[in-house]
Point group: C2
Chain length 437, copies 2
């Protein structure tokens, strides 16, 4: 019986485990997960922090017993892998160095939060693993004034949660605008004032060090006295177990081919720990989001089971929200496109989500970026108060398939006055590039 070992029981790992059991019932599948939670949703942590739900079990799609009993997976929680030897195919677990041997290995260890200089890092908070969400929430809810370092997706979602709980928040961000990796300057201007209304937003400011158990934040512009500090400056691939044994790429993510196989035959990497290829640029990319993680797990499972499937690459779809306003991006910003060797053009549309005569219409802004010569869509950004998600998916599909602004213009979009305008903002933005207006 062939033995598959999966390290990490998050989205990617559990998807892989479930599909291998389904596709190859003869393989033994062991999953080792260092916390007590599996198939969990880190994406829910900010909303738990906001108090929108209270039962931490809701973080899990299924509990461990389900995978063990219903899916026949040898799942072990609270089993942290300390060491892997890729060439001799052995993993060591826990303090007693129990060993597990394998024929196939899937590394699904996710990401870890990026850190900042402190005088004792236990005293700053990270919004990351659901297994620590209860403890985190208890600590943060007891504070009054909180510094959030970072104004990307994680910083904005954490700030929203804390503001909603009545906390005084100072958000310190090195970028000149919040969400600067998602939005060009012009698009950020539609969301930035909404955030600034609720908290003390410090832009173009870099944190040098956090001192005094998280109560003093020192930046290149000054010093803040707070009750505690959340570090939300992003994540990096959790690849330390295989460093030196496998080829690593961007930010230390594990290099894989389109079967999710690493530089070592039979060793796969999936989810936040794995690198991928950007379909738009053709270059390596690293997209640590849940839908990508799940689909990578799916692809690896097929290949481990001997049934070929290929992961087509990524376009970098991102979405977040601040209060009622959703913000999304796919592909390249205009700023990013300028750094490639493609000549890019952009078009922006300010629009409404419903017919002019239909009550309750909301604002929406769509920006498209396309290659000038071919009209191929290179990027898109949307800021809006409803119906953002599906429009992002339209753009994601378009970019995955190399479609053009002409294709977007002629998409036979749905139109109902209660939920749309007849000239959809995507169609209008595409038209601006395709037909000059």
């Amino acid at each position: 019986m062939e033995r598959v070992l999966i390290i990490g029981g998050g989205a990617a790992g559990m998807t892989a485990a479930s599909w291998i059991r389904r596709l190859a019932p003869n393989m033994k599948v062991t999953v080792l997960e260092s916390t007590s939670m599996v198939s969990h949703a880190p994406c829910g942590v900010p909303y738990f922090l906001e108090g929108l739900f209270d039962d931490p079990k809701l973080f899990m799609t299924y509990e461990p017993s389900f995978f063990i009993q219903k899916r026949g997976i040898d799942l072990r929680v609270n089993a942290k892998v300390r060491e892997i030897d890729v060439s001799s195919r052995v993993a060591k677990i826990g303090d007693e160095n129990e060993t597990v041997e394998f024929d196939y290995l899937i590394i699904a260890t996710g990401s870890i939060p990026s850190e900042i200089k402190t005088d004792g890092k236990d005293k700053v908070f990270f919004v990351h693993h659901p297994a620590h969400a209860e403890e985190l929430r208890k600590a943060l809810w007891s504070l009054e004034k909180i510094a959030v370092i970072g104004g990307g997706i994680l910083g904005v979602e954490t700030s929203e949660a804390l503001v909603s709980k009545g906390k005084k928040v100072v958000m310190i961000h090195h970028g000149s605008r919040p969400l600067n990796r998602m939005l060009d300057d012009d698009m950020a201007s539609f969301i930035s004032p909404k955030i600034a209304r609720d908290l003390d937003m410090r832009l173009s400011e870099s944190v040098l060090e956090v001192r005094n158990g998280g109560r003093t934040v020192i930046t290149n512009k000054g010093e803040y006295k707070v009750d505690g500090t959340v570090v939300a400056i992003g994540v990096k691939p959790n690849s330390s177990l295989v460093k030196g044994q496998l080829e690593l790429g961007i930010h230390g993510s594990v290099v894989v081919n389109d079967k999710m196989e690493t530089s070592e035959k039979g060793i796969y990497a999936v989810g936040d720990v794995a690198q991928s290829t950007n379909v738009i640029t053709g270059k390596p990319d690293w997209v640590p989001y849940a839908p990508v993680a799940n689909k990578m797990g799916f692809v690896a499972a097929f290949n481990v089971a001997g049934l070929e499937k290929k992961f087509p690459g990524v376009v970098g779809t991102m979405i977040t929200k601040y209060k009622e306003t959703q913000v999304g991006k796919v592909g390249l910003t205009y700023e990013e496109a300028l750094k490639t060797n493609m000549k890019a053009v952009e078009a922006k549309v300010q629009h409404k989500t419903r017919a002019r005569y239909y009550p309750g219409s909301k604002d929406i802004w769509v920006k498209l970026i396309a290659e000038e010569s071919s009209g191929r869509v290179l990027g898109a950004q949307i800021v809006g108060d409803e119906e953002v998600l599906g429009r992002l998916d339209v753009l994601a599909l378009a970019m995955m398939k190399g479609l053009t602004v002409e294709d977007l213009f002629f998409m036979e979009n749905a139109y109902l006055p209660a939920v749309a305008r007849v000239w959809d903002p995507i169609v209008l933005a595409a038209r601006k590039i395709y037909a000059g207006d």
Copy 2:
């Protein structure tokens, strides 16, 4: 100076007029519109009937003076064309048979409501042109018990409006389920009970005649006494002006090529009056909806102006709603797919619109139909309480471009717990066909 005549000042006609003026400032553009309204939105009539807005001017994107003064269009309202002579390139207007000569003609006369046998048809009501909406609303609001004949989009939207105004409605529909041209039986079952809760819904029942000034409806199953009757059994192309002069196709729609040119050189047809080609089946089709009308107007304008653009065809995107529930369809239903020579498979997903832990989650059902051999997407249906529109657009784009369930599965969908689930229902339905689960 070359003269372009456009008959009909609706969505298609005014789009064509505006773009010709922009692209070919040397052409003289005349638009003849039989009512007092142009660039109007028939789609808004049900909502006006519901009382969601009161100013009929809101039906118009722009008023006639805008087109005349700002866009330099020779627009004449209350100018009904009685006759066209295609070969000698003359149109006759009004009672005095004033004539207008042209070099290019664009027929944009839209559609007209299908009729039913009555003993005096002035006494039944049609929900159609915004120019008659005020009169219609006054009449219907004065009645108590109203028969609505038809349970398609128009019948459902009209019934919703009347029910919301507190009217007693009996909806009589020849199909075995409401919206039967959009939804297969299984999908209709998610919306049908919601409609039946509010009104007397009679299915599989055919109206034979309406008598007594709309107050008696006689069907193959019985007789209804009401205060008035709305006939909402659909529309047909308003092509009588050119019958015998141009080639006509489905339901009498004007046959055009991909430049929107009819069988006669220099004569174009756009919008509800024009036929198109279904991209999925490759066969002639007729899709009388506003986004199609606008894009046809756009394409005709480029070709009249000597700048080639091609209309790529249709996939038949439809959307409507009943109360909070939106219903949409793209491409073929399974029932329709069975009638082609393609072997089709289907998959259905019952899902929620938000993460399990996020408050306010709504129901959504997605059904996909694909060609078994290739996986090409042939059709899709969605019933759901939010975020239906954008998902329909994803499917419309996929079908316009001949994409497969594999492409849909690997679409890098956006995921935010507040507005989605990580396995989007489209991705899950695609997976069922692509991977068997």
